[in-house]
């Protein structure tokens, strides 16, 4: 999501690394590039200006640590500022001493309120709570039905009044609250109609729904693909209701996600959840520190490792590492590990979490198609070929290409890549220490941030 931002900072800092101590002029240059990078990432101009000014101020007053390179100092500053805007730590839902806790979902049309409401209900139910979904979107056709169906899928009760007129949302909210108190529900999640922030009438309705529902939390649901308008949206909603947090949706796309910064900056409220997929389980706590690291080109390594731990068997992984280091890794092993890698999600997503991996000469869709082709090629090899790739002569390769429905070029490429990696890993472990990594035999460069391998 913040991919391109990462690569921009990478570019800047790679360049800075080659220079000596940071001068004021260099700070200016870096800040100009940061401004540009943030704008390209859809951070609202207003927020960019304020953010850059803050970083400049800090840069000027900052003590110079002898232990840090200039680039490291700037990275630290920018990262600190980013975390400062995005929130210090993952923020949970507010609690209330008078149950039920009412959570009001508000936002523009199509931002994902109904889906986010259902995901939140599922999350709370999983924590042993007893949520009630309330259908207060009386405007969009079949919105009530959508919430009812999602309620069925998550086994969460839904308070819906299909016969209500479209201006009765506040009354529905109020009746739902009574119902929830009577029946002992712990949480009330109120889905509202999507509305344009410039639509005075509908914004008034939202205020009325809020007055009737007495929310503990008012979550502004924001599409991660939003552009410059994010700042206007946030300001308008903040004027009408007491926004207490933000839900960032559709983060599983490849939008740079600058809207997250804009929203957090303008509202001063934390981003509490992130929608990361179409399934009802795909709602995660938002991690500001990880996001900031990601912006700075350090990737989202923590999430990546978490995922890896879930899919790779530890003993098996150690064995594979050993084999890789000794160049005993075979296509048979490769095939086995690919199955685990596949479980981590689409290749494009895995790559997105890796540091510095943002500029891709091929599209995500193409990238994700690569995996099945590679699998087909290996599966078309005989056991002997898989265990001893050196026997792969021209006629064998031709046979494999036909068998896998690929081309000889593709087979050649795979074998070459396989060899390269074996050499690369061997070189890395052979030389020992950091210097060895910079002298990879094939001229391959490890992405920055992976130095600790």
């Amino acid at each position: 999501m913040f991919d391109s931002l990462s690569s921009r900072f990478d570019d800047i800092f790679t360049r800075l690394r080659s220079r000596g101590r940071l001068s004021e002029k260099q700070v200016d240059e870096v800040l100009r590039e940061i401004r540009l990078a943030l704008l390209e990432a859809d951070v609202s101009l207003k927020v960019v200006k304020a953010f850059v000014a803050e970083v400049r101020e800090q840069a000027q007053g900052a003590e110079i640590h002898k232990s840090l390179t200039p680039a490291q100092q700037v990275i630290k500053l920018v990262q600190g500022a980013l975390v400062g805007v995005l929130g210090k730590e993952a923020a949970g839902l507010r609690t209330t001493s008078r149950p039920p806790r009412v959570i009001l979902m508000a936002g523009l049309q199509g931002s994902g309120k109904t889906t986010a409401a259902a995901k939140l209900a599922r999350l709370l139910k999983g924590q042993g709570r007893k949520p009630l979904l309330v259908a207060c979107d009386l405007r969009r056709p079949a919105a009530i039905r959508q919430l009812q169906l999602l309620g069925e899928q998550t086994s969460v009760q839904v308070h819906a009044e299909p016969g209500a007129n479209q201006d009765e949302a506040p009354a529905v909210a109020s009746r739902a609250l009574d119902h929830a108190r009577l029946e002992g529900f712990s949480d009330l999640i109120v889905d509202t109609a999507g509305r344009m922030h410039v639509d005075a009438e509908l914004m008034k309705e939202l205020r009325e729904v809020a007055a009737a529902a007495e929310p503990t939390e008012t979550l502004l649901v924001c599409d991660a693909m939003t552009g410059q308008d994010a700042v206007n949206v946030a300001e308008s909603f903040l004027e009408e209701v007491d926004v207490t947090g933000i839900v960032l949706t559709k983060l599983d796309g490849d939008a740079r996600g600058g809207a997250a910064l804009s929203m957090a900056y303008v509202t001063g409220r934390p981003i509490k959840f992130a929608g990361v997929g179409e399934k009802l389980g795909d709602l995660e706590a938002f991690h500001p520190d990880r996001m900031a690291s990601r912006i700075l080109g350090m990737g989202d390594v923590l999430t990546l490792i978490e995922k890896a731990e879930r899919v790779f068997d530890e003993a098996e992984a150690k064995k594979m590492e050993e084999k890789l280091r000794k160049a005993e890794f075979t296509f048979e092993d490769f095939l086995g590990q690919l199955q685990a890698l596949k479980k981590m999600g689409p290749l494009s997503q895995v790559l997105g979490m890796m540091p510095g991996m943002s500029k891709l000469p091929i599209g995500d869709a193409q990238l994700d198609q690569q995996m099945p082709r590679v699998e087909a090629i290996i599966k078309s090899m005989t056991r002997q070929e898989r265990n001893n790739p050196s026997v792969l002569n021209g006629s064998r390769r031709a046979r494999i290409a036909v068998g896998s429905g690929t081309s000889i070029q593709e087979v050649n490429k795979l074998v070459k890549q396989f060899d390269e990696v074996r050499k690369m890993v061997k070189a890395m472990s052979g030389g020992g220490g950091k210097g060895a990594k910079r002298r990879l035999p094939t001229g391959m460069k490890l992405p920055p941030g992976l130095g600790g391998l």
């Binding site: 360049r15 056709p141 990546l304 995500d364 391959m444 920055p448 600790g452």
Partner: protein, 369 residues
Amino acid sequence: MPEGIALLLIVALVVMVIGGGALMARTRGPRAPRPSGTEAEAARRVEAPPATRPDQVRPATRAPAKPAEAPPRPTLRDRLTKSRRLLSGRLAEALGQSATEETWEDVEAALIQADIGVSTATKIVSDLKAGARERRATEPDEVMSLLAQQLVGLFEAGRDRALAFAPEPPTVWLVIGVNGTGKTTTIGKLAGDLTSRGHTVALAAADTFRAAADEQLGTWAERSGARIVKHQPGADPGAVAFDAYKFAVARGIDVLIVDTAGRLHTKAPLMDELAKVRRVIEKEGKVHESLLVIDASAGQNGLVQAREFAHAAGVTGVILTKLDGSAKGGIALSIEDTLGIPIKLIGVGESIGDLEPFDPKTYVDALLT
């Protein structure tokens, strides 16, 4: 598991699958001698001569539209009244004084805030500066009209923005896009417009994924007097499209509009599914329009969306929705400028009549007036 091992394994596997070349290109800095794909692309974009110089621009003369598809209500400007002050106010303010470097920066900022994108905005402003100097234009009005000409010039003159109809019915329009852009609502409006002009319309509920999507479409079918073809939730979207096509042929329906599930362009299996929906229809007939719905509030990712959807299912036109908010939809301009996909319609409200043909001049006027 030690994190080093996990990372090493992943890196090794990934490099084996996609090759080290790709990774090198991704990690190389801007000063590297060999430009990476994206840099080369950016360079091409910069080098490409502007399609039309400002002084050569003439407002697009609209091709004589087929009488059937031109609702005669050019009310975009009225609709945009609420938000008009934004860009125009800032520009007028900036241009009210004698032009300094700051003025141009303000113009650029205003364009960026319309989601036009930094590189396009920079280019527009540098062209504007040159144009103003050349013509010795100093009065705010002159500069404003120069800017308007320049923006209109980004839309290719004479491009056909009318929706295509089949010579022999049924006409088939496929409606696609990411989640939450307003596909179903747009289809409702399209159906209402068509039936009000005497066409028979069928809607295919090929969004079988989202809960109650078919019922939402059903409500629009009722409102507009269109027929609807639907299957069970979770059914194969291709099968729905196929049946709907058969239905349209059998009943002599004029226009079949296929609603599809919103999908992020990064999800390969879902994009494949979309390609299949198109293929299935093309086994029997033809898809006359593949319309990409773009949310006016979308940022720079809109361009990536357009590229990926065009790759998977072809895109013949863009429908820019939610222009009744404060978002300007500048990304649609970039889509047309970069990919050559014309914006055909705009959505300016939630009522059945709130869909209008796109006219570059009206759009730019609305942006600047």
